[in-house]
Symmetry: C2
Subunit: 306 residues, 2 copies
């Protein structure tokens, strides 16, 4: 599998439009240690021809233009075979409405994520202008499934969507009961090379099944939203702890780093970093602590082969 990071920041990106925190100011000033970042998304492919996107971020148009493999090859065309959604947060789904130019789209998602975006959403009708404009393919939470291209042919890849502790999107808070399909991690397996990718960009806790899958992967992307649980509070920018927002912090006795440092995967990345996270500064002591655990911060333009 070939993989390219299209965006590494949490919702709002870096800089965030209405934020004048240290990191946002450094990014605006062009500080080379604190580069601007787009909202979280990754593209992957078995063959370099058909591409799968994880998430459809609000930055999706810019992300497609940033990577020539995703450019159309005919007057009306896209190499995007399908889009995989891990939850219904707006920073993962809003870009679907940017991909509305009468182009058929295939979307893999759980029933909960599909309904959270489609039900009662009048603007979604812009994606229902002709029969078959959107083809939803449900994730099977019980096991691995083949990942099919737009025309239904075998991509050579398989995906397992694993329910992971998370939350419903903000616009559905308080609506109904939480369900396992609200938030998933993705396990991508290349059936030819055997390479295994684990992708958990929103993770409220490291459950035993999640730990096991991370331990068995060759490359992993894990929720790097917050370095500390009280990061927003300490910066005076919010009242909620990371855990209350369903993001396990990286540092601390119960953070993700203590587990990630024990894993032997050749490449271990954090992704979905909030604009307040000190890991966004390449010269921060927090980044040095990360490197000591052989964990990296994902960045736009990063390409890997598994």
């Amino acid at each position: 599998v070939i993989l390219r990071v299209l965006g590494s920041a949490a919702g709002g990106g870096l800089p965030q439009w209405n934020c004048g925190c240290t990191n946002c100011c450094a990014a605006r000033a062009g500080d080379p240690a604190t580069p601007s970042r787009l909202e979280e998304s990754v593209a992957f492919s078995a063959d370099g021809e058909d591409w799968f996107l994880i998430q459809a971020s609000p930055d999706v148009r810019r992300q497609i233009e940033s990577f020539p493999a995703l450019w159309p090859r005919r007057p009306r065309h896209t190499p995007v075979a399908a889009i995989l959604l891990t939850n219904g947060d707006l920073d993962h789904v809003l870009g679907l409405l940017c991909l509305r130019e009468s182009q058929p789209l295939v979307i893999y998602a759980t029933h909960e994520v599909r309904r959270g975006f489609v039900d009662g959403n009048s603007v979604y009708r812009t994606l229902e202008r002709f029969p078959g404009q959107i083809s939803w393919r449900p994730f099977d939470l019980d096991g691995e499934q083949p990942l099919l291209t737009a025309d239904g042919s075998d991509s050579g890849l398989a995906v397992r969507a694993l329910a992971a502790p998370g939350k419903r999107p903000l616009h559905l808070e308080g609506d109904g009961d939480p369900a396992p399909g609200d938030n998933v991690g993705l396990l991508i397996r290349d059936r030819r090379t055997g390479g295994r990718l684990a992708y958990f960009s929103a993770l409220a806790a490291l459950t035993a099944p999640v730990r096991q899958q991370l331990a068995e992967s060759d490359c992993l992307f894990v929720d790097g939203t917050f370095w500390t649980d009280d990061e927003l509070i300490a910066a005076g920018l919010g009242e909620r702890r990371g855990r209350q927002m369903a993001h396990l912090p990286v540092s601390g006795p119960d953070g993700s780093l203590d587990f990630l440092r024990t894993l032997s995967a050749p490449r271990k990345f954090l992704i979905h970093l909030n604009n307040t996270n000190p890991l966004l500064r390449a010269d921060s002591p927090e980044r040095a602590a990360l490197a000591a655990a052989r964990v990296e911060v994902a960045h736009e333009g990063l390409e890997l082969r598994l």
Copy 2:
């Protein structure tokens, strides 16, 4: 009034993500005659402190970062005093959902445009997380009204929203009857300098009131979506004529150019150009015909003072 163009293209921008037409390919190849363009939006201000945006395009985050006057000046802040919407097309309103980081926003729009975005739109709840997150101020279609900053103080500017032939957004096609408030042009007047700006980025026809307002303005922005009525059909990229999509073409016996050439305003611009429009190529004969009528194509970064 100080004015800055943030985006000059129609929905989809240039290049459009799934389009391999001549213009989109030239823009991707970096042809200096065919620069990339963002989706239509303009910022204006009386004093350079408080800024008003026309439209909230899907490119709004990038547009704010492109113009330092729109950057926050404190840890949580925006110089955007209000956003003015001329119709409910997604390329004008989708950006509102990108401006959701717990920031109070003021939006000027007609009742029809507000309801077309708010009613039955579950994702809009992300902009209703606390009382007063969004303050809608209705346009008065019967006359001029003062343009107020976020805290309700006088901006020194006045606005008149003039009903103009247009259409409802695609996601509401077939819902209810057309109304005058579906699409408006904006007439901005600086009460100190007397400068007058006319802004009609979607215009299905040049009615007598529209002609009169354009004739009395010092600077005008007019719908430049299509050069010819059958542009999409001729390119093999669509089945509808420009007029069927509520966009009067620029050229031809009943096009807008024949009227615009008669106007003596010092600056006359086309804006909201579709990716198929030959005017996007600076070296095209169509662009030369435009220049002969003293009409310009708006472009990102253009700044004016009236």
